[in-house]
């Protein structure tokens, strides 16, 4: 495996031209799209138009003239196409945590006699914090499971199962259809966190028969830092869903200003407050990067990228005590690979100084994300080459580590 080989792979890559849909700084190797996607080229133009024209000139009239009020559903429909959902079963807004709270309380109300929520101990912490808060509010308890004993944790006392489709650290991916079926076999509802899946691996919520799903807009969907999240509700629950953040935009007739809440029909009842038009417009424009893109082709490239990184890391980094952590089976692998090393933090910082962006996850994980829309094979070759050089020379970098700072 040589750098020329990597360049040959890029030349043969059928989706290589999609990289032109992004504004990436020259010379930067960005392997952190699993934390924050870069801006697709249309975003700046769109956000400028929204501020200057829609807001600045159209003012309040743009709620109608530019259908701001319809943005959550419109953006939801675009995301729906990427996650195998009916267009009218996804809505954008709020944060992943807030959306999960809504759906978990709603799930518990659909299973009023059950008082257990099952989730994984390795789930992204905000999900576990929210699940615990919901359990406390409704008088339920959390049963923790590991990725391999999910089915054994299910029984007829379980109201809802909440899992992350792809683990944020290990990149391990569930067989979501099988797990959903197992949940249904005991009468439990299945809720999926798609933060590390949407836009990068094929997701088919309809085929999985999932009840609920949430995900964020700022990783592989490239919607911008802290972009609006999304919520999916299976159509079978649209008219019985009873969620607790019952704000005015989820009301059947928000502008009737009725004193009592009447939920809107369909997915719109998941909405809460006034939609955040600036961020939602950025996400809307960002999603155009997926126009005419085949998720099957993206998945094929993603697997080729992770295969290549794993092979190079095995060959060039393992000798320095690095453990390459990623599922070796394709059907269990997301689009990221972790390297474990006692100096992972220093490695990530040293790579950053060399123009290679990855991120650190405590205590010893260097995490590399491979967004097939814009990552090149030669990026991977260069990143591993840089990591080998850092490891060989012990050039770890350890700038101040503040507990309240964002860790990259």
């Amino acid at each position: 495996m040589t750098r020329d080989d990597a360049m040959a792979r890029d030349l043969a890559d059928p989706v290589a031209q999609l990289r032109h849909r992004f504004d990436l700084p020259d010379g930067l190797i960005y392997l952190d799209g699993n934390s924050l996607g870069p801006p697709p080229v249309g975003v700046l133009k769109r956000i400028t138009a929204v501020v200057a024209d829609e807001w600045g000139t159209g003012l309040i009239g743009s709620w109608n003239a530019h259908d701001w009020i319809g943005l959550p559903a419109r953006v939801g429909a675009k995301i729906a196409r990427l996650i195998g959902a009916a267009e009218d079963s996804v809505v954008a807004g709020d944060s992943t945590s807030v959306q999960l709270f809504k759906l978990l309380v709603a799930a518990s109300r659909l299973r009023p006699d059950r008082r257990v929520i099952v989730t994984e101990s390795s789930i992204f912490p905000t999900d576990s914090y929210i699940a615990a808060s919901v359990a406390r509010l409704i008088g339920a308890e959390i049963h923790w499971c590991g990725p391999s004993d999910v089915e054994a944790s299910l029984d007829d006392g379980v109201a809802a199962l909440v899992l992350t489709h792809i683990d944020y650290r290990s990149g391990w991916m569930h067989d979501a259809a099988a797990v959903t079926a197992a949940a249904h076999s005991v009468g439990a509802l299945a809720c999926w966190d798609l933060c590390h899946s949407a836009g990068v691996v094929p997701v088919n919520l309809a085929e999985w028969d999932a009840d609920f799903a949430v995900g964020c807009g700022y990783k592989y969907l490239n919607g911008g830092p802290g972009a609006p999240a999304f919520a999916y509700v299976h159509p079978r629950w649209h008219d019985s869903l009873d969620q607790p953040l019952s704000g005015w935009l989820g009301h059947a007739d928000p502008f009737a200003f009725e004193q009592s809440y009447r939920p809107a029909p369909g997915i719109r009842r998941v909405q809460t407050g006034t939609p955040d038009v600036l961020s939602m417009s950025a996400l809307d424009a960002a999603l155009d990067a997926f126009d005419d893109v085949s998720m099957t082709e993206l998945r094929a490239k993603s697997l080729a990228l992770t295969d290549y990184f794993i092979a190079l890391a095995d060959e060039r980094l393992a000798p320095f005590g690095v453990t390459v952590e990623a599922p070796r089976e394709h059907n269990r692998r997301g689009s990221q690979v972790c390297l474990r090393h006692p100096e992972a933090y220093g490695l990530v910082q040293a790579l950053l100084a060399r123009g290679v962006v990855s991120d650190f996850r405590t205590p010893d994980v260097a995490r590399f994300g491979f967004a097939p829309l814009y990552v090149k094979f030669v990026d991977i070759w260069d990143a591993v080459d840089a990591a080998a050089s850092v490891l060989a020379n012990g050039e770890f970098s350890r700038p101040e580590y503040g507990t309240r700072r964002f860790v990259t």
Copy 2:
């Protein structure tokens, strides 16, 4: 009262030059800043820099380099100065509905033996929907009161009182200090909705001794459509506040990725998900329009504007069957005035066609907001003149009224 008189008032207005801090379309009379404030001039530049440079070039590193992670507190501190709160007692984020949900559940947990929430039947509906949802979740009940019998509704069974400082329709303003004291006298906690107050009337949460407050960023704060909201928590509750949307950004150490939630010290525990950087940055830039502005001077101008509108409407519109609804006493008046008329919807639409923006509130209210940062006295003269012409000639306009559209 003549148009020349209005122009003379503008010439004598000590804060007239603040209008240059806004990008307002030429010729437009904008009396709807109580629904959506226009963009201050710095917003476009800031949002362009955030997208192109901070996000596009800085990418994930901008969480630290541009302190994105600190935005909710930084924006909160700017808002705090406008509402008489300690700088570290306000945080920006989410929507008003979501923030109210957090604080009401938290309030109920601070008063675990009490199971009543008191609120006004005329409160903005999203507040009543959220209060009802909280009551249902915690097994409490709502007691509804009117604006004048709040104190009579309080007893030692009341956990929390939720009121809107200024009524969204009538513009009626509570004596918040007195009402807060009444709540405290029975051991209840007081939560204020400042949506129609923040940035336009003097608010002094510390002096009121309020326990909690929420408000939106898109009205008189001019943060953009659906801008992030804010939450205030009195410092006495900072370390006991126990809110249910316990997402990772409210954790004491978000990047330790602990399995269990440990709330951050201080106001930061009110945060939930990843901050929405684009919208939060727009709000941050918008708040600079308040630099060196005296809330006392703004209030004086606001009262002069509403006095002028009321006097003109009494003289020129009342003869056509219009009822001018606004508290006549200054200390009970917000910064808006409503006109009631059976054809209010048609009046608002006809004014819009003449370049005068107000809004309609069902069933018969035409609502006019007077933002002292940019509204001129001559705007008011022209608006009333246009309304008189519409009423005199019966030129009401009634475009299609869709229930799911935003109503202006």
